[in-house]
Amino acid sequence: MASPKVAVVGAGVVGLSTALCITETCPSCSVTVLSDQFSPNTMSDVAAGMLIPHTCPGTPILRQKQWFQETFSYLFAISNSAEASEAGIHLVSGWQVFKSPPKEVLPFWSDIVLGFRVMSEAELQKFPQHRFGQAFTTLKCDCPPYLLWLEKRLRATGTQMYTRKVADLWELHSEYDIVVNCTGTGAHQLVGDKQLFPVRGQVLKVYAPWVKQFIRDGDGSTYIYPGIHRVTLGGTREKGSWSLSPDADTTRDIFDRCCSLEPSLQGAQDIQVKVGLRPARQGVRVQREVLSQGGVKLPVVHNYGHGAGGFSVHRGTANEAAQLVEECISALQGSLSRAKL
């Protein structure tokens, strides 16, 4: 197989990074990205893009840690380079505070982020309602810049990108040799995965350039993440809600909760409201599958279901998906050789 044709469906952070990994592991592949939405209109664009993992119950911790480590290292190198501002990657320090001490004193990622330690009494004075805290430095991927940078890297490899709504993966079988499914919440419909469910998140993106540190309530409900131009204030976790319309009461509630963590946000300007649906699943699905109809086979690699932790593990899962694509290519070449005999 001289130049395997690979279609990546989905142009969020997972789709684009998976496509990029495939061009890196398989330079002879011809990669095409197909998506009904591109940045700035993907779910990834709504997210703050903070590298703080969420523990996924259905995936072994070691695997999640491996994914996070790979992602962190990859982005750390970019943040330290001249491309950092274009790629939207920057270091940010801050605090995770708890009203009552967490069950897990040391999260699995504490040795991957920088300078992780327990907050001092003096630092906790800033958070009178919280009794315990952790301080650390991590990375943030600002979107759209990061996605646009990934698109630019892809175009440089000759990857084509098309706006196209794929209704059924099988429709691609005649044009492509391998299909990679990075459709996030779309997988619920596209491949009928009933395990995939949305967790609705509403956020505010505000102008408050004096906020240089992140603050996150350990219960995950409230967070303040300073990006390059705007601060993301969040949030909500509404399981099963498919609604993409902003809710005014929720906006008020998010703003109040964030102001109680960081009173200076009262002076925030130009509040923009966004809604995204986290593609939640017991475990992230990074897996091969072969679709077949009437004797014709279509290898598929799935890479979806990252829930709230997409940015934190995206590069790690992209690497794994690219490996699976390599396996698909070997399998195809194997069957081609057998066909020749």
């Binding site: 330690r117 003096a122 200076s264």
Partner: protein
């Protein structure tokens, strides 16, 4: 009672405010007047980035360390007040970098979360093998000085745009106390060979992705002669110049190149940053801050001068502690005047 304050930088304005806050109720018709040749945004305080950080060592000058602490605690207390944004006050974390291990600074327990850097963090800064991380405060002069000015105007303090050439000029005619907060120009009012300019130059850029301050140190070159990057609320300040004895306030192309090249080496992403402004100023450097009283003759009268100058590159860092100390000196002047005015009565 009239009090003249010479100088409208952070030291002059904050000293005036401290005195008015503490004594306007106690002294009938206390009138404060601020005289300055430069007001915000043209003072030295306006050019500084505004990072609260004393020098590495206090050289045993515990008094200054206490004043620094008083200032930090005062500002920290205002962090959650509605005025914080207007004051230009906010928290910021960052790095101090060295090429060799150094003793901990006098201010390690004043700032928040002070710790040494981990090996992984040092990977971010090739060439540096040791460092600190801590959370400190930013107090931007361009916001703080107008805020102080507004507080003073609300209290009826008057401002005069005037270059004062001598103490005699402002004393007399009811002015009994003069606060000398003239910073770099104190030598014009009274020669002080210990006061020397510590010339600095900075480049202000748009680099909103920088969320930490990074101060490098070259122990052989001395303080602030090594690149630093400080993220403000609007601009990021690049600097690293300290020229003792250089009175020039003109931007130097050579210094520009030095700052730009060394900061871009430190943070490669800065190469893409847009330059917005360049500024040079003179730090009013002195072996120690001059904060003391002096009686001077004005004709056949006496005026009390309270000197409060020589804060080098740490004016914003130390201002509140010094303003309170100046207010205490003012208080003792008042007490003496009262004692002289009311002779001791018969013992009971």
């Amino acid at each position: 009672m009239r009090v003249a304050v010479i100088g409208a930088g952070v030291v002059g304005l904050s000293s005036a405010l401290c005195i008015h806050e503490q004594f306007h109720g106690l002294v009938p018709s206390l009138e404060l007047e601020v005289y300055a040749d430069h007001f915000t945004p043209h003072t030295t305080s306006d050019g500084a980035a505004g990072l609260w950080q004393p020098y590495l060592s206090d050289h045993g000058n515990l008094q200054e360390t206490l004043w620094n602490k008083e200032t930090f605690d005062y500002l920290l207390g205002h962090l959650h007040s509605p005025a914080a944004k207007e004051m230009g006050l906010f928290l910021v974390s960052g790095y101090n970098l060295f090429t060799e291990p150094v003793p901990d600074p006098s201010w390690k327990n004043i700032v928040l979360g002070f710790r040494n850097l981990t090996p992984k963090e040092l990977e971010l800064f090739p060439g540096y093998s040791y460092g600190w991380f801590n959370t400190a405060l930013m107090l931007e002069g361009r916001n703080y000085l107008p805020w102080l000015t507004n507080r003073l105007m609300q209290r009826g303090v008057k401002f005069f745009h005037k270059k004062v050439e001598s103490f005699q000029e402002v004393s007399g005619d009811g002015v009994q106390v003069v606060l000398n907060c003239s910073g770099m120009r104190a030598g014009d009012l009274q020669p002080d060979p210990e006061l020397q300019p510590g010339r600095g130059q900075v480049i202000k850029v748009l680099a909103p992705w920088v969320k930490h301050f990074i101060i490098t140190h070259d122990l052989k070159s001395g303080i602030y002669n090594s690149p630093y990057v400080i993220p403000g609320s609007e601009f990021t300040v690049l600097g690293g110049i300290y020229q003792h004895g250089n009175w020039s306030q003109e931007n130097s192309a050579k210094d520009h190149k030095l700052i730009w090249d060394s900061c871009c080496r430190l943070l490669p992403a800065l190469q893409k940053a847009k330059i917005v402004e360049e500024w040079s100023g003179l730090r009013p450097a002195r072996p120690s801050v001059r904060l003391e009283r002096e009686s001077i003759r004005v004709g056949n009268l006496q005026a009390e001068v309270i000197h409060n100058y020589g804060h080098g590159g740490f004016g914003l860092t130390i201002h509140r502690g010094c303003a309170l100390a100046a207010a205490r000196l003012f208080g003792s002047i008042l007490q003496e005047k009262q004692q002289r005015a009311t002779p001791p009565g018969p013992r009971l």
